[in-house]
């Protein structure tokens, strides 16, 4: 447990407080990192420009400045909006992100709460955001928001299924729902009898990895699945009426969720905090682990954002068809084959 590093015995409430604070700091920080590195810098480079340059060294503080700007803005609530629901929606979205962070392991002992059903919990809470999105879309009393919210609702539910089914393959192979156990399973695994590199599940579960990446793209409502927020038709979709810090909540939620999903993908398929050559039981793993996890997250996030900046978007009916007709059968087939192989081998 985390308190062991500091060799301090803490009371339960103290532990909880620290954990809450860590998560509360992590969410904006990770969102900022993703926003700066990918949304501002990488997108700019891919479009042959340099991105923001003025705020901070090489413009790295631009997003922080934007955040401050959002905080200063007037909080506008439309006249005919359902005020309570309108105000609650961003909180719901952010809460779902917040809860996802609870089960992310960053080292053998660095985890906020090692739930035995960790990945199941993550899938469950991440689908909470649908509720927030629908609340936002419905309460805004705006047709664009309504259309965006409904599209988002349909899309998030449709892609929740392939997401979970993709995870199932990994779970079957690891034999556990706990995030830590999945990492251990990959660290202890062996490739063709050679155990030095362990067995990142991306090798055996490449189909699941593909489905997972597609599904999180859709869950994040990013291109090519960004029809719910398509700015060229529904002008931002469910958050079209939000300003100031409420919009900031959505923004943070989007990028923190991207980070969380990237972390889950890194943990499930790339071995999480585990690095070949470092004894997972040593204290060193607690220091190298977060760095390794961060690097792996950035690799996954790079893929997510690379797709985002390259592809045009699907139409809503096309992406539904894609989910139900192709992704889900594929995921089911993957589970079946994995199950058979696990039993046979």
């Amino acid at each position: 447990m985390s308190e062991l590093i500091f060799a301090i015995e803490l009371a339960y409430w103290q532990q909880t407080l620290i954990k809450v604070l860590v998560a509360a700091v992590l969410i904006p920080t990770t969102a900022l990192i993703l926003g700066i590195v990918f949304l501002f810098k990488m997108m700019s480079w891919m479009q042959s420009r340099m991105g923001p340059q003025e705020a901070g060294p090489r413009g790295l503080l631009q997003l922080a400045a934007d955040g401050l700007k959002f905080l200063q803005k007037e909080d506008i609530i439309p006249d005919r909006a359902d005020r309570f629901v309108f105000k609650a929606a961003p909180v719901v979205v952010l809460a779902s992100t917040f809860l996802t962070y609870v089960i992310l392991p960053a080292g053998p002992d660095l985890i906020i709460e090692n739930l035995p059903t960790g990945i199941f919990f993550a899938m469950a809470v991440s689908s909470l955001s649908v509720v927030g999105v629908l609340m936002a879309g419905w309460s805004s009393s705006n047709k664009y928001a309504l259309m965006g919210g409904l599209r988002a609702g349909g899309q998030l539910i449709a892609y929740e299924l392939p997401l979970i089914l993709a995870v199932m393959g990994v779970v079957i192979q690891a034999g556990s729902l706990s995030m830590q156990d999945i990492v251990w399973a990959q660290a202890d695994g062996s490739m063709f009898g050679f155990g030095g590199l362990g067995l990142p599940f991306v090798i055996t579960q490449i189909v699941a990895f593909f489905i997972f990446m597609v599904a999180i793209q859709a869950e994040l409502t990013q291109p090519p699945f960004d029809m719910p927020v398509a700015e060229s038709e529904v002008v931002g979709g469910f958050h079209v009426e939000y300003t100031g810090f409420r919009f900031l909540f959505f923004f943070l939620g989007e990028f923190a969720t991207a980070f969380a999903f990237a972390a889950i993908a890194a943990t499930l398929f790339l071995g999480g905090w585990w690095v070949p050559g470092i004894d997972p039981n040593s204290a060193l793993a607690n220091i190298v682990g977060p760095i390794a996890l961060f690097v792996k997250i950035m690799v996954v996030a790079f893929l997510i954002f690379w797709f985002r900046f390259t592809y045009p978007r699907f139409r809503e009916d096309q992406l539904q068809r894609f989910a139900w007709k192709y992704l889900i059968p594929l995921a089911l087939a993957n589970i079946t084959i994995t199950g058979i192989l696990v039993v046979v081998l």
């Binding site: 997108m43 891919m46 479009q47 042959s48 420009r49 047709k143 664009y144 259309m147 291109p223 090519p224 960004d226 029809m227 398509a230 700015e231 060229s232 038709e233 529904v234 002008v235 900046f309 390259t310 592809y311 045009p312 978007r313 699907f314 139409r315 809503e316 009916d317 096309q318």
Partner: protein, 391 residues
């Protein structure tokens, strides 16, 4: 002045009329989605009122006029050389191309012809403005469909074309370079070589567009079979340019009815058509047109004859009495000017036939029963410039 008072009244009445339109739409069945006039999909201020049943469009009507500047009236108080400044701003992306048909109409009435060198340079600039215009279409289409990256590429490479237009004419967007009987000035040194390089950049943009957008399976799923316009409907609506050629009608004013004063016959080129008539076909035809256009420019650049650039015209231009209709194949389609002269300094009547006006009037016909995202695809693939609709 009493007129301003009545204008004030007209404004109030207009607000009320707008409210009435909204009410009328609201009280009918289904949901009415009002896109614009300030909507990201309507680069410019075009309002689209769509009546929806779920996500399906029952009726969709574009409402232009938010940028109507009354050029036909304004032309009646401007002398012939002054008119070109004004009509630059009709299709503001292909601005030089706007001047040409008007100047040709005036030349026809005055019975003068530009010297060969001026004709070739005029044609080159005409094609450059086509490149500047359609390259932005390629980028804009990507942006409308969610792939924003190609938009930046288009802006990046269009810059080379605009730089060439600026280096020759002095104006990036509003060259005002065409004159009755020739051109304002000759080309600066080094321009030809630099333009060849710009053409290479444009061809690279075409390749990138093909790889990034046109070849993308998602893009094809979004555009193939969407917004199909048969040839019969297209001619009935008077659609022109790539929109008409995408319906399979082999009709290009540059080749088939090139007015004297442009020298397309010096180049060896091809008119592309596509039989499908859908959004993909329109995009494909435009992409091929950009490629073809770079080849036209390349060939003409190597065949600029030596000589003067202005024919002998009087300093004070009075155009003899008569009527003339000249249409050219502008980036957006057929643009024509019906100029009526009474032998005065100013034209008596100028009817401006702009391409987007006819091209966009087909929208109510083509959007029945499509989905809301397809409205965006169709509008983007029909490609309009608001100044070209509203004039």
């Amino acid at each position: 002045m009493t007129v301003t008072d009545s204008q004030k009244m007209a404004y109030v009445a207009a607000q009320a009329a707008d409210a009435r339109v909204n009410l009328q739409f609201e009280t009918e069945d289904g949901m009415t989605l009002n896109m614009g006039p300030q909507h990201p999909a309507t680069h410019g201020t075009l309002r689209i009122v769509a009546q929806l049943d779920g996500e399906q469009v029952v009726r969709c009507e574009p409402i232009p006029g938010y940028m109507h500047r009354g050029y036909e009236k304004l032309c009646e108080v401007r002398t012939y050389p002054q008119v070109t400044t004004l009509i630059n701003r009709i299709d503001w992306l292909g601005s030089f191309a706007n001047e040409v048909p008007f100047i040709l109409a005036a030349e026809k009435l005055m019975d003068v012809e530009a010297p060969p060198r001026a004709q070739v340079i005029r044609t080159i600039l005409f094609e450059l403005s086509r490149l500047g215009n359609i390259s932005l279409f390629l980028g804009d289409l990507g942006i409308q469909l969610g792939g924003i990256t190609i938009g930046f590429y288009a802006f990046r490479d269009r810059e080379f074309v605009l730089n060439q237009i600026e280096a020759a004419t002095g104006g990036r967007f509003h060259p005002n370079f065409d004159r009755i009987g020739g051109l304002k000035d000759d080309l600066p040194k080094g321009w030809i070589a630099e333009t060849h390089r710009a053409m290479d950049r444009m061809r690279r943009l075409c390749d990138e567009f093909e790889e990034l957008v046109l070849g993308n399976e998602i893009f094809q799923a979004r555009t193939r079979g969407i917004g199909v316009i048969p040839a019969d409907i297209a001619t009935s609506y008077g659609m022109s340019g790539a929109n008409l050629r995408a319906t399979g009608v082999d009709w290009d004013l540059r080749r088939d009815a090139c007015p004297p004063g442009l020298s397309y016959d010096l180049a060896d080129w091809k008119v592309w058509t596509h039989p499908d008539g859908d959004s993909y076909a329109r995009t494909w035809v435009r992409l091929q047109e950009v490629r073809e256009s770079t080849h036209i420019v390349d060939q003409l650049l190597d065949s600029i004859p030596a000589g003067p650039i202005m024919a002998k015209v009087p300093r004070i231009i009075k155009v003899p009495e008569g009527e003339a209709w000249v249409a050219t194949e502008n980036p957006l389609g057929e643009m024509g000017y019906y100029v009526v002269s009474k032998g005065d300094l100013v034209p008596f009547r100028v009817k401006i036939r702009s391409a987007s006006f006819n091209n966009i009037s087909v929208v109510p016909w083509v959007t029945r029963g499509v989905f809301v995202p397809d409205v965006i695809t169709i509008m983007a693939s029909l490609y309009f410039i608001l100044g070209d609709i509203d004039r």
